[in-house]
Symmetry: D2
Subunit: 423 residues, 4 copies
């Protein structure tokens, strides 16, 4: 091991994870590029697991942030009023919500994904007076006990050390071959002998990132919304990973033509990779008492500043169009890979810039990701058995970067496949 | 209402809280001072509820942060290795742990207080294979379901919308007059018919901030550690609010001469008010599997940079000595207030810079805090009925600031008391 | 209301139920006949909800019981050894278990159905160290919290006043048209991201009585046993209602050719309607510590005496053959009813002497049962909406009684149908 | 081992318990006497753990029962109306409730102690809409999950295999030396930051039988009732073991001058040792819907018959007076034992016929009980460590029987003490 890395082994908890896949010390980053201490350059097809949709250290946001810090703008404000927060609220309404005909109150629930999910679950239970929440197979919503209870992954669940309660898991779209998961769900709800009570809420990701890049059909998503309306169930969309343009539109649910009751956002909402989260709440159910959910870092003004700057990307459709176009390039590439390398036993998954190849060969996705790292590209795997390698380039990547990145992936596939696959 | 503040009423969730106590828009801050949009200056005796122990926008950290951003240092790194993180790990070992003869692995559990508490609870349960945790009356540990379950406040608990489980609440030090809470706890543990199982962990704050500035005696804390050792229970100290010098030493538990199995830190650990948290874990119980607890913002490098810079305050005992000395000034002042203003029906509480006056007069503490805001000082109330006004000046405040702040408090007491108290 | 019945209204709790459907005071019973205080005679097609499979006051058992009482045989023995208990143990092994090649330890868990189910659930969790149990839609297992948590009926579940936990409900055989519930179950088990952990046990009824006379196919039952074996899950058959010959064989699961790990029996096991229950446990998992599950009425010796006498019915195949033959008569009759009275919108359900007609017409089954009572026959309804009227004649009924009973049912259908159905 | 006893080892579950303490086969019983197969006679100071307060096979009840069976009275009636039940309801009102100025609706919850407790807990939660119940240290309420959750014994609790929830355990009277458990309870209730919510109910035994013969003072019981009234908490008295005269009055709570909201009765309520239980409910809270709690053996008419006959003991004060007088004899004896045999390190506990000696010498109580069995007397031990030997003679025992029994106990103490105590 590199001498410099000893400090992590010595001092950091065994729970550390990505450092084991990417064993080098990163120092500098820009756009889609990362450099390590030794000066090696990497193309980033990981994007902070969806937290860096605009790439690293975006210059527009960077300048705003430096100016703010230089001028001693208030940094930490809890949920007091600050000028930076006011500007974010105004711009988010104007640029994001109004044009999409969405009417939400904005809650700042603490600056992480699991915080916004917890606030959503608590609110839904409080408003409805019901205790159960329906989640879906392979959903991923966070690691604190409330969010973990709606997360499917068995290894993560075991970390709780207690049985996880008040949740019913239903099959996601296309979960069982030739079976309609909506029919199942409806049957359970309509039958008063089913053992499944009408829940407070249904929580879903339109594309499951951690769960294996499973993209639900728009038809399925719309049907779920209908089920919610029919039974008076609140619909929570967890757009923490799929939101902020990752699938091609600001909210991932736009093309499904639905209006969730609650939307959870984090990761790329700050634009610059700073901790930040918001919970969007239909005004009628905005019923927390003052301070009933709180947290020290609700007022991270650096994030307000960069998040506001990031909204400039959404004043026109340039970014959306670029993502749409480049997404086609990527999809074409992925289908070619599956076709040209049958050894992959691969299946293309996802939409927008949230895509990957699932391989039926045990351990193969991990091998390809590891080889890609050697070849200078960073990407991760997902799915219950890490069976998917996952392409998450920044939305702002240029053609050169994209081409180069895809070439490294093809090379890595080749490298891995020509060597006999052993565990 | 101020025209500028309408955006908060219109767009922000009803859950917003501090903005109702301090209804103005803050723009700029420095040290112990804050300014609003209208140019009013305030003395800050609130310190971001303990997140700004070094004051606002500390110049030493500010410069390091601007340099880092300017040079495109990696901002968001999940739990990959970064140079900024390596430096923090090294310095924290060297400046904080080693001199105190403490041996801990450091976990980055997500950048908030509730995240470090959740990681601690999960780890304790996993390691021991037990499900219950003992918490104390008026403990406050966070708003996500795991942390909320060990939090005492009934209003906050109701926000969960589900029964909170796997927790037993025991009386904090001095909870019932003339009764030893340790005797109770021990009786429950030693009696196999008590209905209270040996828990995975006991979690405590050495001084309860939100719970009403209740400072446990060092003797009590030491006894709790002994109970833990006798029964094989892990001891978790939640030092989120009381840590990082707030009580006069880096860790609040130092003068009690204990070595907790797990320590939760957040709030002021980043120094600059940036979201950051760490969980300190005795190496023998560092047993999470890689990735068993994760989170997007574990690698907030801006916070690594400022947290490292903040450690410079602890290379010698200057800060500690200054806090000790000023704390005496404050305590003398508080006792004088209680004596001179019997209408307060007041009791002085706390230690270090984590102090306040509890008033037996219903609503009085809130009135004094509100009046102080009018008079140009920011402080909050705490306790189950907001019966305590709470002095949390920055540790770095100078004599002038302190004197001025205390004067405003006395003036506010006078102002409130001379007017007949009505609800 | 009858003057005599006032005492029930005045003194008995509102929870009373059957007395509302059959509003008369019963005094005397024999075989398939019941008489009320006014001297009216009723044919009993209810059989104490399956607790009186041998009819009322069976003479063989009656004599043994009177002799035992007369001779001052020990009545109440907790779980001490008594001669009556020894005889039951010996005969049950010899007459029931050995000929069926079944090897079980016998537990006396307290004398009710819910007690045996609770003992089974506790044991399964203890033995496996897992907390979840899989139950099925419309399962009914009892009213104490453990059993209620695996019961599907929403009205009953609400009676708990707390969320019911540690249970996952899966679809019973034929729950959703054209979708295999076994495929569904397996998908959840095999996928480590499904959110459904490998459970301690699967609990099922081979025919669901309270749930609406749903008879699972033998193929489905066998498949569930295979699933259990594949995943190391304990299989619990709740044979409280379907056992003791109700479906034509002593155990309801015999024709499915399975060997459950645990079998729950109660209702007709005492033969005479006396409170009694047993839990059959595969010897390898007979792992409760002495006294770890107890109860005051585990040693109801009157029940031992009658239960032992009842076993005499199973020394040859006379009773089985008679039930088989009469069951065909009943099924033919039921199919004729559905055909001849299309207004029923009826569906024949069940097997053996555990049968009924489900009607799609809201409230119709209840009307027919009420009319039958007027006409001198007692039967009940079941299903989540009481949509099934349920034929539960004693296994020992003679041809005359059966013919008479069926005639009353047909008459009652006619009576109800000719009157316009209104709610 | 006796040849006859092999069947138990071979066929009965390992959970069997009393048979291990009293390893012989019982055949015949009468009054306070029991005989085994070998013809040995035993004096019964155990009384079926309180289920045989009137002794074995009481002639008055026996005759009524034989007559009823002979005349084919309805045996099993679920919760239909039967003449035997009507008579019980009328007599219970007339003989028990009215003279004590008590107004209760009577629920038949299934024929065991745990069933009545479960019905009480469910009802209290349903009526109040709250989920928590407060129970006391060393309480014992039953083995099904709801009742087990309010039971203190750690070994029994472990049998659940799941965390037991929705319960808070408070200290029973005199739990910690010199500390008032009522003050402690009240402090938790009045403090909204205590982490203990206002519960649905408080459940208590006035004398804890299984918990170690702990008799609460009447003053403490009255204070608990006051606490309940002050906070709108339902008071449930579990009189399963202490009721039906065991402590000298029909209800154990009579001398404390309280009126519980719900009373749980079982064990001796049938008089003859037959399974039976009732739940007494203050009319205002009699709010279960019809059938919301049910069970197959709610209508055990044999028990109605003997229970009605047993009420004849309560038409005058003869039995009460006799118990009072003999209780003094017993108490005098016990105090003499403690005094005369200091090796016991004994403490006299209990009241009425619910008494015993707690010994500080590990294992001594068990040795004395075992020796008493050898000497021809049956008694059991209780307490979390079986540290109490427990005298439960029938209420109807005559002077000769009592004298003889006490003599055997003294002899057994002598026998054990003279031999060196080893484990």
């Amino acid at each position: 091991m590199n001498q410099d890395m000893k400090i992590f082994e010595k001092s950091e908890s065994e729970v550390r994870s990505y450092v084991r896949s990417f064993p080098t010390i990163f120092t500098k980053t820009k756009g889609y590029k990362m450099w390590d201490k030794a000066g090696n350059e990497y193309i980033d097809f990981f994007s902070g697991a969806g937290a860096l949709n605009y790439g690293h250290n975006n210059d527009h946001m960077k300048q705003k942030l430096i100016d703010y810090i230089t001028n001693d703008g208030i940094t930490h404000s809890l949920d007091m009023a600050s000028a930076a927060k006011a500007e974010f609220l105004e711009k988010f309404q104007e640029i994001i919500l109004k044009p999409r005909d969405l009417d939400y109150k904005i809650m700042f629930p603490g600056p992480t994904g699991t915080n916004t999910v917890e606030s959503a679950l608590k609110l839904a239970r409080k408003v409805t007076g019901r205790t159960d929440v329906i989640s879906f197979t392979n959903g991923f919503h966070g690691m604190t006990i409330g969010s973990l209870s709606v997360t499917g992954n068995a290894m993560k669940r075991k970390g709780a050390g207690i049985p996880l309660q008040n949740v019913v898991t239903m099959p996601y779209d296309n979960y069982v071959d030739d079976q309609s998961s909506v029919d199942y769900l409806e049957r359970f709800l309509e039958d008063s002998g089913s053992g499944v009570d009408i829940p407070a809420a249904i929580i879903l990701e339109t594309v499951q990132g951690e769960g294996g890049i499973n993209a639900a059909s728009f038809e399925w998503i719309k049907k779920i919304e209908n089920v919610c309306k029919r039974w008076g169930i609140l619909l929570i969309v967890d757009d923490v990973q799929a939101g902020v343009g990752r699938t091609g539109t600001f909210f991932s649910f736009e093309p499904a033509d639905i209006k969730p009751d609650i939307v959870c956002m984090s990761k790329s909402i700050s634009g610059y990779g700073l901790p930040f989260a918001i919970t969007l709440i239909r005004p009628e159910i905005d019923q927390f008492a003052p301070g009933e959910h709180n947290g020290t870092f609700r007022g991270n003004n650096h994030a307000f500043v960069t998040a506001t700057a990031a909204l400039d990307y959404w004043t026109d459709d340039k970014l959306e169009n670029s993502v749409k176009q480049k997404s086609q390039t990527i999809m074409t590439f992925l289908h070619k890979m599956v076709e040209n390398y049958p050894e992959l036993q691969g299946e293309v998954r996802g939409r927008g810039f949230m895509v990957g190849i699932a391989s039926d060969v045990d351990g193969l996705a991990n091998k390809i990701a590891a080889k890609a790292f050697e070849n200078g590209l960073i990407m991760e795997t997902s799915g219950p058995n890490d069976e998917v390698f996952k392409l998450f380039p920044p939305l702002t990547i240029d053609d050169e970067g994209l081409t180069k990145g895809l070439a490294i992936i093809e090379q890595s596939i080749k490298d891995v496949i020509k060597q006999p696959v052993t565990n």
